[in-house]
């Protein structure tokens, strides 16, 4: 770790040597359109991901408008708490592109002019047979001592400047240009400067069927005990994800650090674990069907096609997915899926109806497996209380149904029911209905 990156405790926030963090990097996105919500700050997500991958730490991300004073304020603050700063945006040719000026002001440097680059700019425009607006020459300016880094995907050069042991990088806001320069110019410099000698690896364990707080309680000791690997919980759309992140000299070492924790997590969460990393439940279900050489059909009332659409979203779904019926009107449950009228008379939102729907779908669509949903999505209750969803699964090994009470509004209830249906198909195929 080069002395340049020694962190004075007074102005840098708790470095975590024990986790091997060599650099704290702060991302500052420049652009009033970001503050106004006209653009989503995807650049920050991309940079955060790339930095974490390399084992660099991010404590803050900031968005600031095209305003010189506030940009200087942000850069000065970041210099006081980070080893490196990555600015995105504001290095173009227009009047509101003032990132160059802001870096100069924040570091008390003058703006120099790169005549050679200005010449290449003119040539660039000439070859396109157009006259260059003078404002473009702003792109030839740079804070004294800064390096201009050529931008092969655009005209605005990136900037790199060291000041008081903090490195400041300025990148374009255009994602394609920013990403190319980050990958090929900035990341390699950061890794060299930091003398990176380790990797950071994350493993995502995905589960369904337990609440986030139940999962947290089951893993409480791991969460509190361990800093490397470290645990985090992420909840989204009814799924609870446990992320295990390890820092180690080599990828193999990181994998070794993670493995025992993954084992414990799987052991404690049991059958609720359905996949890892970017495996979705629809993908997992399709893989299970492919393994068994089974096909699947859907029979949907309340979810009205959501389950089918999600299964078909996986490329190659046609190998096992044949189709399904959306039977919203009660009489169609009889005419399309052969649900006996007397069963419907006893209750459309019932286990019996759901089971007949699933069996009817398997027969009519000639599949081995079928999943059916009937329920009361609201806003007005249908037979049962709003949020009551009944899911039935039919496989060559048997059939079963489950009554669920889901919270939220119509859209959330339907989405969660579709997710639950896919998970119950998996549990039925692996021979485990999740016990509550």
């Amino acid at each position: 770790m080069s002395s340049r990156f020694y962190r004075a405790p007074d102005n840098k926030q708790n470095p975590r040597p024990e986790t091997g963090v060599l650099l704290i990097v702060e991302v500052i996105a420049v652009g009033t359109e970001l503050l106004l919500g006209q653009i989503t700050n995807r650049n920050a997500a991309y940079l955060g991901d790339k930095l974490a991958e390399s084992g660099f730490d991010a404590h803050y991300q900031v968005v600031v408008g095209d305003n010189l004073d506030r940009m200087v304020d942000c850069i000065a603050t970041a210099m006081g708490r980070a080893d490196a700063i990555i600015l995105t945006g504001g290095i173009g040719p227009t009047q509101d592109d003032v990132t160059r000026e802001a870096i100069a002001a924040a570091t008390g440097r003058s703006l120099e002019f790169n005549a050679e680059f200005a010449e290449s700019l003119r040539k660039f425009w000439e070859t396109r047979g157009r006259e260059m607006p003078e404002s473009n020459l702003r792109q030839a300016e740079y804070p004294e001592g800064a390096e201009q880094i050529g931008n092969p995907k655009g005209t605005a050069p990136a900037l790199a400047l060291e000041h008081d042991g903090c490195w400041i990088f300025a990148l374009p806001g255009v994602p394609a240009e920013m990403q190319f320069l980050m990958e090929h110019e900035i990341l390699p410099r950061l890794r060299d400067l930091a003398g990176v000698d380790h990797v950071v690896l994350s493993r995502l364990i995905r589960s369904w069927g337990r609440s986030e707080s139940q999962v947290a309680e089951l893993l409480d000791d791991l969460y509190n005990r361990s800093t490397n690997p470290s645990l985090a919980f992420l909840a989204s759309a009814g799924e609870i994800k446990v992320r295990i992140t390890a820092k180690a000299p080599t990828e193999a070492d990181a994998v070794e650090l993670i493995a025992p924790y993954e084992e414990i997590v799987r052991e404690r969460l049991g059958a609720s674990v359905f996949g890892v990393d970017d495996e979705t439940i629809e993908k997992v279900v399709l893989d299970l069907l492919n393994e068994r050489g089974w096909t699947i059909a859907t029979a949907e009332s309340a979810t009205a096609g959501m389950i089918a659409a999600r299964i078909a979203s996986v490329p190659g779904a046609s190998q096992v997915f044949r189709g399904g019926a959306v039977v919203y009107a009660t009489d169609l449950k009889a005419s399309i899926l052969d649900v006996p009228q007397e069963v419907l008379d006893e209750g459309v939102v019932s286990d019996a109806t759901a089971l007949f729907m699933a069996e009817g779908a398997a027969r009519r669509f000639r599949t081995d497996v079928a999943v059916a949903v009937t329920g009361s999505a609201g806003p007005d209750p249908q037979e049962r209380a709003v949020g009551t969803m009944i899911i039935a699964v039919h496989t060559p090994e048997g059939s079963g149904s489950r009554v669920m009470r889901l919270p939220g509004d119509r859209e959330r209830i339907r989405t969660y029911a579709a997710t639950a249906a896919l998970h119950l198909v998996r549990l039925a195929m692996v021979g485990e209905w999740w016990e509550r």
Copy 2:
């Protein structure tokens, strides 16, 4: 404007009275997963848009991890430069949800416990027949003096606290919960507190069938001429929205400012205008069906339930939506929808197949209207080039089909095709197929 919101020049950044900005609001998004780029900070974009719409100003947006010290640091900084702070995330039940603690620490207040709310939490879990993990009780805590705002879309209550003339609001990170609370609880409070003496009104004119540049060209003069009302173009998922925004003393005045512009926009964009504001195409289609007393069915191959799911997403859809078939496998197009085998032999991705699918669906599901989609969504082409989607619409007044070539990946192609299908149903019902 209440004196509480007087801005001392030393710690608040240039207010902009000329644009009627009454409040400076800073958004702080909490979550290590944001810093790591595992989640894109769409909440900040949503909040930035809502705040700007109401004439509030945003100078900075900040993202901070689940770290108490750094959150306190961010809140303290924001209190020094904003009139109001909106925090998103970190108010859930797990160990890493520390927004409540951070607000208490930043304002030097103690954490109180709301026993009544704790009781309601227990009841919430009881009604779901599950035992509540103790950690959930964290959601009953609040900084002394803060108001807990009920969260009808989730369990974690939002928080509102005034401290030293700065208002601090804490919202959940889950977008649906955050957006609901922002719209129904936080925005009205901000407007009251600021004593907003003018209204900012936006009218969204929604169109489909023209490119953004075509729309921009048709409205170029309005766009350049007018500052109040002002025009903006928004493109999303194939729809082009024109937003007309007016600032006026009263809502009636704003409506009056907007009306003549809406008239011109409608006149120039013609039949491509399908709705205004939050009217979705599915809602518009359902309203048209209700007017005519017609029912509708779907027949989907490539979109595999997407159209049905979108129609059923509208509350009350059951009045006119009866159901539909997902016929992914070719043989089901014949067995379920009676598409003649010789037609299928000539081409599954063909106008004839699409037309027979629509007519079969109307007959089998006993509806007046039916819409069918067959196509090649990729990644591997099926008969026709990837992106080729054929949409047929059947109404009591006739049938028609349209071949579309859609860009993008599998998911985008399917989503755009579902949107196009709904728009073509509308155009068929109003007697206008959009000419290219």
